[in-house]
């Protein structure tokens, strides 16, 4: 049954917040996450010999792994910054597992510190809510974004995902009500997650369709809320994980696929890279889609879920709408529980920690630590991350030992 030699032994996750009470530098947040996840896994700090961090690390944009090793006082046999946007969390998990499998390191921390950083004393205004820069790093001379996309009026992420949705609606067809159902059931799942920003704020399909259209055809309630937060995992050898207090979660299969940056240049904007990533992950794990007890899929927008269900192979292309209509995605009684933490649509999107939230969701379920949203059976799960404009995707098969 797939890869057996690396496992997730512990996690920590902070509740996403729009404006946290206390600003914190990313390395300060990384240190707090590290202390929490080491304690959760029942490890000694000296056992850690690998560090992976999701960018950005504000205090050290260059040399980030070494800056972090120095700050945490960890001698690393493996250090890496992963730059895969929303797929960063899942991408870090397989890199950590692979490093352990080949014997480069024994125990690695996967860190996604996304705190609200303090502002220097002379700065006007002080910290504000989380906002991604409008041009997403594309405003440098020579970038195709600066030459063609941005002058055309294509900025930020939402309009790109909206274009994929418009194309999907015209080519395959899906009712706005069906996409809205995804947002509604994610919100429902958030009701079982005390850390979700939208817990106890249920919505209806009518609410989604009545919310303002931000970029046609996407409504406000189909779009994630950017937040601050943080999350971390401890990944180690299966043998070492077995001696910890938590049920080890084996990283049984993984796959990654990267094809483009901006959606404009996607080889096919309706056939997303997760197809190849998921195919590899399932093959590596020696299992199949029907065997999954739950799935946790990157949900920056409702359309992302529709495309991912199809392209990860859970239904034929073009049948995602029918799949969503036929299945109940809720944790309490749903026949196909998806994103039992509420997804990022329900929980809030704390940068790369939002991408990692899907792995944390699965780990909590498999370890039996999901509280009131615990599923009766959670031994085998699919998780994935989506970065860029449907551009870079990582799929994981996670399995309780």
């Amino acid at each position: 049954m797939g890869k057996q030699s690396a496992a997730i032994a512990g996690f920590t996750e902070w509740a996403p917040e729009r404006i946290p009470e206390t600003p914190m530098f990313p390395m300060e947040a990384a240190a707090q996450l590290a202390a929490e996840v080491i304690a959760d896994a029942g490890f000694e700090k000296d056992e850690v010999d690998g560090l992976l961090v999701g960018n950005p690390l504000m205090e050290s944009p260059m040399f980030a792994p070494s800056a972090l090793a120095e700050y945490l006082g960890v001698g690393c046999n493996f250090g890496e910054v992963v730059d895969l946007g929303g797929a960063t969390g899942c991408g870090m998990v397989w890199r950590a597992a692979a490093a352990i499998e080949v014997g480069v390191c024994e125990t690695a921390l996967v860190l996604c510190p996304m705190p609200m950083p303090p502002m220097p004393p002379a700065t006007q205004g002080g910290p504000g809510p989380m906002r991604m820069p409008a041009y997403l790093g594309g405003d440098v001379w020579g970038s195709p974004q600066a030459l063609y996309d941005i002058p055309s009026g294509l900025a930020a992420a939402t309009p790109s995902f909206a274009m994929a949705a418009s194309r999907y609606m015209a080519h395959w067809g899906v009712a706005p009500e069906t996409l809205a159902k995804v947002a509604v059931q994610q919100r429902h799942n958030a009701s079982g997650n005390p850390k979700a920003i939208f817990r106890d704020k249920p919505i209806t399909i009518e609410d989604v369709l009545a919310s303002r259209i931000v970029a046609d055809p996407l409504h406000l309630l189909e779009i994630v809320m950017p937040c601050f937060g943080g999350a971390a995992l401890l990944v180690t050898s299966a043998e070492r994980a077995a001696r910890g207090p938590n049920r080890p979660v084996r990283v049984s299969g993984y796959g990654e696929r990267i094809t483009h940056r901006n959606l404009t240049w996607a080889p096919d904007m309706l056939d997303t890279p997760v197809r190849a990533a998921a195919e590899r992950a399932f093959r590596m794990a020696g299992t199949h889609r029907e065997a999954m007890d739950l799935a946790s899929m990157y949900d920056c927008y409702t359309i992302t879920i529709l495309l991912t269900i199809e392209d990860a192979g859970f239904c034929p292309k073009g049948q995602g709408g029918a799949f969503i209509e036929e299945h109940d995605l809720r944790f309490d009684g749903g026949d196909w529980p998806l994103n039992t933490h509420g997804g990022q649509l329900g929980m809030g999107q704390a940068g790369t920690a939002g991408g990692l939230s899907h792995v944390v969701d699965v780990v909590q379920q498999i370890q039996g630590r999901a509280g009131e949203r615990q599923l009766p059976k959670a031994d085998l799960a699919y998780a994935n991350g989506t970065g860029g404009m449907l551009a870079e995707q990582v799929a994981l098969i996670l399995e309780g030992a």
Binding site: L147, P151, P159, H171
Partner: protein, 139 residues
């Protein structure tokens, strides 16, 4: 910064040496697109063909005809520098020759844009640079 701002703050491209022929042709109302002798048309211009990595491609004039492959209407101003234009339609246009490119859709109301709509290139001069837009094609 890889962009310059127009007098009213719009983001304008700064052509690179490699991309300059595209913008020079646009200023003359022509759509010039890279063409590889083995793999045909591609866009955007790259130092080497993205199919074969050959460097022996040349510029060819495309018809300027295409259709809306996908579009959205920005109703909130995702780029604050273009907030004065909202709502506006932005699309990925598939050229008759095959490659796709991003473009504002002009010449019709934002609610009239459809996927599959036939469009043709229009050229908008703004302070020394020409941007390629697309408008609905008659017939």
């Amino acid at each position: 910064m890889g962009l310059r701002k127009s007098e009213d703050g719009r983001p304008l491209p700064i052509p690179t040496p490699l991309a300059a022929p595209f913008f020079e042709a646009a200023a003359e109302g022509r759509l010039l697109i890279p063409h590889c002798p083995r793999d045909g048309w591609f866009f955007y211009p790259r130092s080497r063909c993205p199919t074969c990595l050959g460097d022996d491609w040349d510029w060819r004039e495309a018809s300027g005809q295409g259709e809306v492959h996908a579009f959205t209407v920005d109703r909130v101003g995702h780029d604050p520098a273009l907030a004065a234009d909202i709502p506006y339609a932005v699309a990925v246009v598939e050229l008759a020759e095959g490659p796709r490119m991003p473009a504002r859709i002009v010449g019709c109301g934002v609610d009239d844009v459809r996927v599959g709509m036939p469009v043709e290139a229009h050229y908008e001069d703004i302070e020394g640079i020409t941007l390629v837009r697309f408008a609905p094609r008659e017939n």
